[in-house]
């Protein structure tokens, strides 16, 4: 067991207990101690003056690339990046090589995660090899440790298969996470609009996403089952989810920091670090996503952390793979929403910790006495420039590198300590 920790003078923000005040927080035996507990003599003190002390951040959508593409990322490097970004837990998507569609792969991921710097919750595939034809063994996968199922990266084309997945997942208390895109419309390389016209790149219209978002909502609504919509990027999808929630449909949704921070203008210059799927959209969509975060349409901010090496990114734009790393920049980009008045601090903690824990059905998201001591200490004011040398992830594919140096305002706010089960997994040097 790590030594007891006393986090002093921090502003504790714990929405699960409606608590927001300056107070010390004691951690003993890897758990949050009752405030009345005597301070042990061997306690290690952490000064959190001017900082926020919040429940450990949980990213419910990352790609850790292990097994199969360890040159991009592995479970140890990915969780180190998570800890550096203030995350104490991540849910990893199944599009590894081989696909996580079996007990064997789920077990491998969990065993590799034993000594990792963040908790790893495997998401297993909905269909065998994510090929969209036959369901995987949800019961066994659940029993092995999978918390959700998704064919992320590949939309489930077949509506009947999606329907069966929702029905069968419910039997096993598994969350179904949908990558909602209509494949016949989404074979472009960036958002369809004036920027794609100017650059001569093939566009993906907003309808590619909203058509599938509505299909998934319709299935969940008709069947009374729950569904989680991943990485929402458009105004139209946000409206569909908002109205579904108002009707009582059991739908939850996440969006990613790049969708509320950047627009398709970031692609200008054929920047492959602005290529992702779904693509960066227009300013109107970006504003709608921010509105959806403010009004509760979105339950979670998830990064879709997608490491790629220069082999996949230093190539012609059409040939570049989709995705960016996000674990190390999610917190500062999300904190900008607080500074800009889109969210308050409590809402931010809900989006980054409380709600992901609740949606995934995992421990965390609270600083209640007795809870596992997954804690993030955030200095919300610290300004810095994120440089390639600082990147903890094995891959450097971020559009947020050197911001501040390139004229945009620098990143502001970052995790100064990340604590998982009472163990310090990250301390800002």
């Amino acid at each position: 067991m790590p030594a007891p920790l006393l986090i002093k003078n921090g502003r504790i923000i714990d929405p699960a207990n409606s608590f927001d005040d300056v107070r010390d927080l004691l951690i003993v035996d890897g758990r949050i101690a009752d405030p009345a507990t005597n301070i042990p003599s061997d306690v290690q003190e952490v000064d959190a003056s001017g900082c926020w002390v919040i429940p450990g951040l949980i990213d419910m959508h990352v790609h850790l690339r292990e097994p199969g593409e360890e040159y991009k990322e592995d479970i140890l490097s990915g969780t180190k990046a998570a800890a550096a970004g203030g995350f104490t837990a991540v849910a990893c998507m199944p599009n590894t090589k081989p696909v996580n569609d079996s007990r064997a792969v789920t077990s491998l991921i969990l065993s590799q995660a034993t000594h990792a710097d963040a908790r790893v919750y495997p998401v297993a595939a909905i269909s065998k090899n994510s090929q969209g034809s036959a369901l995987t063994e949800f019961g066994e996968l659940r029993a092995t440790g999978a918390v959700a199922v998704s064919d992320d990266g590949l939309p489930v084309r077949d509506s009947q298969l999606m329907r069966r997945a929702l029905e069968y997942a419910d039997d096993h208390d598994l969350l179904v996470i949908s990558h909602s895109e209509e494949p016949s419309l989404s074979n472009g390389v960036m958002n369809e609009g004036i920027v794609s016209t100017r650059l001569g790149l093939k566009g993906i219209p907003n309808a590619a996403e909203s058509i599938m978002v509505y299909r998934d909502i319709a299935l969940a609504e008709c069947l009374g089952k729950r569904i989680h919509i991943a990485h929402v990027s458009t105004a139209m999808s946000t409206d569909l989810i908002r109205s579904a929630k108002a009707r009582g449909v059991r739908v939850t949704a996440e969006t990613a920091p790049h969708y509320f921070t950047l627009t398709d203008e970031a692609v200008v210059g054929y920047n492959t670090n602005a290529k992702m799927n779904p693509p960066l959209r227009t300013e109107q969509d970006r504003q709608a996503i921010r509105q959806g975060l403010a009004d509760g349409t979105f339950d979670a901010i998830a990064t879709d952390h997608a490491p790629h090496s220069i082999l996949e990114k230093e190539v012609e734009f059409d040939r570049a793979m989709n995705g960016i790393i996000g674990l190390e920049t999610s917190l500062p980009l999300s904190l900008a929403l607080v500074r800009e008045g889109v969210l308050d601090e409590n809402k931010l903690v809900e989006l980054l910790s409380v709600n992901p824990a609740r949606i995934l059905g995992v421990e965390g998201g609270t600083l209640s006495a007795g809870a596992r001591a997954d804690v993030t200490i955030v200095n919300p004011d610290l300004q810095y420039t994120y440089t390639e040398e600082q990147v903890v992830s094995k891959s450097k594919n971020s559009p947020f590198l050197d911001v501040g140096a390139t004229g945009r305002s620098s990143l502001q706010g970052r995790a100064v300590y990340t604590i998982m089960g009472g163990r310090i997994t990250h301390r800002l040097a």
């Binding site: 609009g193 016209t197 100017r198 566009g203 054929y270 012609e316």
Partner: protein
């Protein structure tokens, strides 16, 4: 042209980043070179000792030949690499190919590539000047410039003209360069074509997207037709060439709606009887072969300017 103007572009990657002064200057330079091609001995020593590489990853007859003739008339040493003979077929990446070519110290690389943005990327990895000879569905700046040169030659100006561009605007890099160029020079651009081939956002650029051929061509000073392809990557863009010809083909009747002195243009190769009827293509208003002639002059000017001789 503004006083104190100087040509400052290291590479020619697109029309989008050229100013009206740049375009003016390039065309004026091209006009001064045009006469060389009419001499009995068509050669000047201007680029002697320069190494120019034609790096073509897509089939091309006229553009490649035009660049090669331009380079040779300026006494440069030219080398042609096409996709079939290059290492691309052995799996080498464009960046590696570029770095290897760069290690042999060429002065200018002319790149034709099927991916939009490839010349932009190449320019970041080589010391040589890069000229875009057509990239994907992005731009074809030397074609845009030769089109503008041809129009200026006949109309004595590039502003206040009505330019009608008909056909596949979505996939045509020529159309993209022409649209940006003619708008930049102060003309009005009207486009017409099937809805499947009109890209989004053109209005934001200042283009008038027409709902009929008549609206586009009526009183036009220039009617530019574009090569049509029936399908691309299994995308059902058009039901048939037959229907295209009848609805969107430029016939003598259509051409008669334009001004009597209107120019008929086409970047070639022409699908005769589809987007352009033979009688119009070969008629008195057609300047299609002038475009080809001017292409050599424009490319001579571009080679001269990027080699640092402005």
């Amino acid at each position: 042209m503004a006083t104190g103007y100087f040509f400052s572009h290291r590479h020619i990657l697109d029309i989008e980043h050229l100013s009206a002064d740049d375009i003016d200057y390039i065309i004026t330079t091209a006009e001064s070179f045009k006469e060389i091609s009419a001499r009995p001995i068509k050669k000047v020593p201007t680029l002697r000792g320069n190494t120019i590489i034609n790096l073509f990853f897509e089939p091309s007859t006229r553009t490649r030949l035009s660049f090669e003739i331009a380079a040779k008339r300026m006494s440069a040493d030219t080398f042609n690499i096409s996709a079939s003979t290059s290492s691309a077929t052995k799996g080498e990446t464009l960046i590696d190919t570029a770095r290897n070519i760069s290690a042999m110290n060429p002065d200018i690389i002319i790149l034709r590539h099927s991916f939009s943005g490839a010349p932009h990327m190449l320019s970041q990895y080589v010391d040589a000047a890069v000229i875009n000879a057509g990239d994907g569905t992005h731009e074809h700046p030397s074609q845009g410039l030769l089109d503008m040169m041809t129009v200026r030659e006949h109309k004595k100006k590039l502003h206040s003209l009505k330019i009608a561009i008909i056909g596949d605007i979505l996939h045509s890099r020529v159309a993209h360069s022409d649209i940006l160029g003619f708008l930049r020079m102060g003309s009005e651009v009207f486009v017409y074509g099937p809805g499947t081939l009109i890209p989004p956002g053109l209005e934001e650029l200042g283009v008038t997207v027409c709902s009929s051929m008549k609206e586009a061509v009526q009183d036009a000073d220039v009617v530019m037709t574009l090569r049509i392809q029936k399908e691309r990557q299994n995308d059902p863009l058009l039901p048939s060439f037959r229907e295209y010809a009848s609805k969107y083909g430029v016939t003598a009747e259509v051409a008669s709606w334009a001004r009597p002195d209107a120019l008929i243009m086409h970047p070639g190769p022409i699908n005769r009887g589809v987007e352009l009827m033979p009688d119009v293509a070969d008629g008195t208003q057609s300047v299609i072969l002038d475009q080809v002639t001017n292409g050599v002059a424009v490319r001579m000017a571009l080679l001269y300017l990027v080699s640092g001789n402005s």
